[in-house]
Symmetry: C2
Subunit: 331 residues, 2 copies
């Protein structure tokens, strides 16, 4: 490797990183070093290297599924994020260890193979375990969390801007003349809480008074949203719009509304959250706040790899974007 570094005119550690596919080395340099290595018949003894570095070439992924709500691994958002992470890891020649879920206390991981047999851990979501995640970070295991950047966090987060997301969705409905907008999401959880802040901000800007009967704590997955909509209808609480904290909540709400004889978007305009693959194909197609899942997965992996290679990393807040389709009645 030393000879190769001389030929390439870079440091030994740059050669090592380039051959390991480390994203910190820019693509051009990596390509050049890989070419040189091939030309000089340089063979990487991967097992030897991993032993020396005590590397497993495995990344663990923990899905922070909601225990109470019986959210399943088959939740679309989690699955798509998992796929994006797996695709990003493939490029790095890493395997993915998926922890069995739900995880009632992330600190239990310390004594498990998830900890021992991985070089680092990606947590998808924070659930209600922000405190435990902070404690976990003290164990000095490379880790990165998909979620919101809470003020007192001691771990690296990658997430979309939730306040802006909630704000964009609500403002869109207000601009279309909707006044009684339901907010569907459990505001005891970090991400829905921030989206709710954005909702309140948009209402305030338009001078619309917040009606607390219209904020409903529903978990991310499908089953409870239909019940919540039916409850509202039964109580004769009228509403003409809904901002939902996931696309699954939105689809479930639309199904309940349609079954009750209400039309979407004419009677109730609905906005989802996430932009999962089916959002563009649903009927009516879903207006939604896009979290760029592929980009998110790629950046999660980047941040983790950087830590594994001994670098310090900073948080990433990804842009959220309103994708306007049919369910909000804008066209």
């Amino acid at each position: 490797m030393e000879e190769l570094a001389k030929v390439a005119g870079v440091s030994v550690s740059t050669v090592s990183r380039a051959l390991a596919g480390n994203p910190l080395i820019n693509a051009k340099t990596r390509a050049r070093i890989v070419d040189l290595a091939a030309k000089h018949n340089y063979q990487i003894n991967e097992n030897a290297r991993n032993f020396r570095l005590q590397k497993t070439n495995v990344i663990a992924v923990v899905l922070m599924l909601d225990v109470k709500s019986e959210q399943h691994t088959s939740d679309m958002f989690f699955l798509e994020m998992l796929g994006a992470i797996a695709d990003a890891l493939s490029v790095q020649n890493y395997d993915l260890l998926l922890a069995n879920s739900p995880m009632t206390n992330v600190l239990d991981i310390h004594n498990s193979r998830i900890f021992r047999q991985s070089d680092g851990i990606v947590f998808i979501g924070q659930g209600n375990q922000h405190k435990q995640l902070n404690e976990f970070s003290d164990l000095d295991k490379p880790m990165v969390v998909w979620g919101s950047n809470l003020p007192d966090r001691r771990y690296c987060t990658v997430g979309a801007d939730n306040v802006v997301g909630g704000y964009l969705a609500t403002k869109h409905l207000l601009n279309l003349g909707r006044k009684h907008i339901v907010f569907m999401g459990d505001i005891n959880m970090p991400e829905p809480k921030q989206r709710f802040e954005g909702y309140l901000k948009a209402l305030k800007e338009k001078g619309v008074k917040f009606d607390k009967r219209l904020q409903i704590d529903v978990p991310f997955e499908m089953s409870h949203a239909s019940e919540a909509i039916n409850d509202l209808l039964q109580q004769k609480i009228s509403f003409d719009g809904a901002v939902c904290c996931s696309d699954l909540i939105a689809l479930s709400a639309i199904a309940a509304l349609t079954e009750s004889g209400l039309r979407v978007p004419e009677d109730v305009a609905v906005v989802g959250y996430d932009d999962i693959a089916l959002a563009g194909y649903s009927s009516p197609s879903l207006t939604t706040v896009r979290q760029n899942i592929v980009q998110g997965g790629r950046i999660l992996v980047q941040k983790l790899m950087a830590q594994i290679n001994g670098d310090t990393v900073t948080d990433s807040v990804l842009k959220t974007e309103l994708i306007v389709r049919r369910s909000s009645g804008a066209w």
Copy 2:
């Protein structure tokens, strides 16, 4: 454990299996033994047991993605099957190791951590590696394959009945009066090949002559199907129906048809395959052949656990079912 077996009136191995959550012990017996164990303060030393059994409590999953077509991990069918397997493993307290994909030759697994650090392997799909899977089975590693039960296989398969699936889809369109039915799927792959057999059988029964220009080899994922449809339209080959080998192919075909000014189902009736979650929400909603993914995942895990516990297993062919929605024009 011996004392517990005496109290329960069963064998020691039954106690061991029941406490390990082995599905071979029926739920009632398992519950009774777990209760007795709790009452007698019996504590399982899981690490000790795993060491004795040389168990890792990890199952590896290999997605047989198509290298040529750049099929991604984010393919919906693979993701949903992965979710179903993860949910089934959670119940067993197993973690899931996802191999980085695509895998150009499954025999490479022999010298990898996928082999060493797992108790067994689930292959989702066969790709075009039936021969290699047969060789792999000679390594005596517990394995199970989602796919078609090819005549000379030496490995256990779980899969849906592909011939019946292709037959049901085609017969449905023929019964609706469609005569020129495109078959979209790569018949060099085991599953599409069997579905194509079903297609031919249905045509023959109705006395419709097979037009070989209407069979198009397209991979499972989305991008190529649109091109294939555009090619047919450009060549002025007329058709009024399409049997597609995945829902993603069907959605892609519908998008291409709609862009060309054709109506689905009026001008072309379309049937998909898989019944992924978005099939019911697409516009028009998809008529499709359901492969029960949740059931499939559960049975794959059952078959593998049985092998790990030293039992011999037989193949499973799951029932396929036609789910009639809007895209075929039946209503």
